[in-house]
């Protein structure tokens, strides 16, 4: 299994994943480390500096994110000028640790895939930093919030820039930590603290898979570097590759909230809205997709794992969409949507070389429009006194025109309105799915329809229909207003990106750009002509919109959610019983096992130990009776000893 093929033989790898052959970074690329170091330094400064940095902490945090973005942009533009073969740059910072058989360097890898992610993370991240200046203006722990955001940006950049799996793991855990800190940022709310813990624990399940995969790589390839593994991916048996692939998928499921580890994402909406936008919509949750696409050289040799990825993706795609239909909490509805959209990306990643580029494409456009919508939702909440229940909204389009318009951009993008960014990316994914398997394609198509339904429902309940602002019980009525410029400007930028994001597909640019990393697929015609398929997709979307219009837009929306609803709605409101399933399948058996072990430990093991102690002290209890304090008793013992001695002497001399 560890017999390695020479790197030369692996040049014919288009069907087996691309070999990573980077050149040593020079010039502007040698600044790659600064992209990570800037936000990291910002986080360190803000956390260590304490209250002294309260006054300007948010500005510093934003500045470091923008700084990283500028460097990333310069590097990206310079990368565009390189030859296609020279677009992979590696930078060896230092030897992380070296053992007898395993040397791990602190290596960065900057290639087309990383470059897109860097732009997405730092770009969207910078916008969300700016937005947060306004959104968190009244929070007395704002400086800490920005420190955590910076920490997240640094960890996420580490994740996408790492040159080996251990580096990815470092960033992976870093974003997990930042996610935990930010979900539980309002730790005074028990629900937030619980949600943070839930996210952390479920992510740990995925991390176990990830770390096991890394161990397996170390055993199989003797290295965790992409270069080594991609060059030697023939050296391992298919079973090993499948195992690594499935373990990586487990890690990706945890981070990207895919079934069966999807449960934490909806609860994670307890965090501040910018966090939901940045971490739980645009960037961190897509890390799983990144991981699978980055590991294309493994998955291309692991057909079983790839099939499982498709299954997971399809299930999650529909699962999230169904949840999104029933939620009244605007953020949870968007979270369900996020889950579903990541399912689309996973689907692309599972489809192999043909889908990788489209998955990344959808990932980026989704980053734009979902961040846009989350920030829009935050803006709405800002105006509605932090109420998240859409049934309390209605007719907000007049009072919040900018929020409404930008949100509409995102809405049109996500449902795939022709011309908007989501249309291009989703269309390509569904088309690729049909090429692969008709059923998968049909599921993706159905998902698109449901997406249209729930997003229209969300849109209608929030911005149209009648006003339902006033609380009949308390008489409290919020006074919605447009958010300040510091919040609306990022909305406008993201809205614009949601509209024009599709430009990346112009002339198949993104596919060609990513080809050195993910390989170039032969073109397969879908079973029906592409244009017809596009028409069908648009039609399905139109049907979804229409259903929403007739069930929500044309009827009175009750302020309190009706209880006599169909079982499907009930199930969707309960997250399709995801938590119940987890409780039954994992938590309850674990708890009962733990209780059994606890009582075993308490009674059997402790019993043995304490039994020894009790026996000793019981013996001592008996023996101490001889120490009665009467000198005459002691003298009796002495005399007895003397007699015994005399008897012994007598016996010896007999």
């Amino acid at each position: 299994m560890t017999e390695l093929h020479p790197a030369v033989t692996t040049l014919i790898t288009s069907a087996h994943g691309e070999t990573v052959v980077p050149s040593v970074a020079e010039g502007i690329y040698s600044l790659g480390w600064l992209i990570i170091a800037l936000p990291l330094a910002g986080a360190a400064l803000l956390l260590v500096g304490g209250r002294r940095t309260d006054r300007w902490g948010h500005l510093l945090g934003t500045a470091t994110a923008v700084g990283s973005f500028v460097i990333g942009l310069v590097m990206f533009i310079s990368l565009l000028g390189e030859d296609e073969g020279a677009r992979s740059q590696t930078q060896h910072l230092w030897t992380w640790f070296a053992t007898d058989s395993l040397d791990v360097g602190f290596d960065l890898l900057y290639d087309p895939l990383s470059s897109l992610f860097v732009l997405l993370i730092t770009g969207v991240g910078s916008l969300i930093h700016i937005y947060s200046i306004g959104y968190m203006a009244h929070d007395e722990r704002r400086r800490r919030f920005f420190a955590y955001l910076n920490l997240f940006i640094a960890a996420m950049l580490m994740l996408v820039l790492a040159g080996n799996y251990l580096g990815i793991f470092l960033g992976w855990e870093g974003v997990g930590l930042a996610s935990y800190l930010l979900i539980g940022f309002w730790q005074h709310k028990p629900s937030a603290a619980a949600a943070a813990k839930k996210a952390f624990v479920m992510n740990r399940v995925g991390d176990v898979g990830m770390s096991l995969a890394i161990y397996l790589m170390v055993v199989t390839f003797g290295s965790t570097a992409f270069t080594v593994i991609s060059a030697n991916n023939h050296g391992a048996s298919e079973a090993t590759m499948n195992a690594i692939g499935l373990l990586l998928l487990l890690g990706a499921c945890g981070k990207s909230a895919q079934v069966p580890l999807q449960g934490w994402l909806l609860d994670a909406m307890e965090g501040p809205t910018p966090v939901s936008a940045l971490i739980h919509a645009a960037t961190m949750v897509t890390a799983g997709v990144y991981l699978i696409i980055r590991s294309n050289f493994i998955f291309e040799n692991a057909p079983v794992a790839q099939t499982v990825v498709v299954i997971v993706a399809v299930v999650t795609l529909l699962w999230g969409a169904v949840i999104g239909c029933a939620k009244d909490d605007i953020k949870k509805a968007l979270a369900g949507s996020t889950m579903s959209q990541i399912g689309y990306m996973m689907l692309g990643a599972g489809l192999g070389v043909a889908g990788y580029a489209f998955a990344i494409f959808h990932l980026i456009t989704h980053g734009f429009f979902k961040a846009n919508m989350f920030l829009g939702a935050g803006s709405v909440m800002h105006g509605m006194d932090d109420d998240v229940n859409m049934r309390h909204y209605g007719a907000l389009n007049k009072v919040m025109p900018i929020t409404f318009l930008t949100f509409a951009m995102g809405y049109l993008a996500i449902i795939g309105f022709p011309g908007f960014s989501g249309f291009w990316s989703k269309d390509k994914l569904i088309e690729t799915a049909f090429v692969e398997n008709t059923w998968v394609g049909l599921a993706a198509l159905l998902g698109a329809g449901i997406t249209a339904f729930y997003m229209t429902r969300l849109m209608l309940m929030t911005f149209f229909t009648q006003k339902r602002w006033k609380d009949p019980e308390t008489g409290h009525e919020p006074h919605p207003h447009e958010s300040p410029a510091v919040m609306t400007v990022p909305l406008i930028v993201l809205g614009a990106l949601s509209v024009v994001g599709g430009i990346m597909l112009a002339g198949n640019w993104i596919v060609d750009f990513l080809a050195p990393v993910v390989g170039h697929a032969e073109h397969h015609e879908p079973p029906i002509p592409a244009l017809a398929l596009t028409a069908i997709i648009v039609a399905v979307v139109a049907v979804g919109v229409a259903i929403a219009w007739f069930t929500v837009g044309r009827q009175e929306v009750p302020r309190v959610a009706p209880q006599d609803v169909s079982p499907l709605t009930k199930a969707a409101r309960a997250d399709l019983y995801g938590d119940a399933i987890n409780d039954t399948l994992v938590v309850a058996p674990t708890m009962s096992l733990a209780r059994t072990l606890d009582s075993l430990d308490r009674h059997v093991i402790d019993g043995a130990v304490e039994g020894q102690g009790n026996a000793t002290s019981g013996l001592a209890e008996l023996l101490r009776k001889t120490q009665n304090g009467y000198v005459r008793s002691y003298a009796l013992s002495v005399l007895a000893g003397a007699v015994i001695l005399a008897l012994a002497l007598l016996a010896v001399n007999w």
Partner: protein
């Protein structure tokens, strides 16, 4: 003269003294019994001195007497001190050092 009867007498007196230490409760009587044991051993020493035609036994008996005198002085002083604080000369009453 025979040696054995003296030695046997010495042994019997010694044993009586030992038993006396065990059964009497008055510290002073206990002390007397200790003296009885010392005297019994003295008798043996003097007897052996004669049996062996050597005065060393008598010297040893002499030293025993001196040591016994010193012991009695200190011991009785201790008994007095205990009696002063506890108003009792019973060896059983001074039994605080126990479980």
């Amino acid at each position: 003269m025979e040696t054995e009867p003296y030695i046997l007498l010495s042994a019997i007196l010694f044993t009586i003294g030992a038993v006396g230490v065990l059964v009497r409760r008055n510290a002073i009587v206990v002390f007397m019994c200790v003296e009885l044991m010392l005297n019994a051993s003295n008798l043996a020493l003097v007897t052996f001195a004669k049996a062996n035609g050597n005065l060393e036994g008598q010297v040893a008996a002499f030293f025993v007497m001196v040591v016994a005198a010193a012991e009695v002085v200190v011991g009785l002083a201790i008994i007095m001190t205990i009696f002063r604080t506890r108003r009792s000369a019973s060896v059983d009453d001074a039994s605080l050092l126990r479980f």
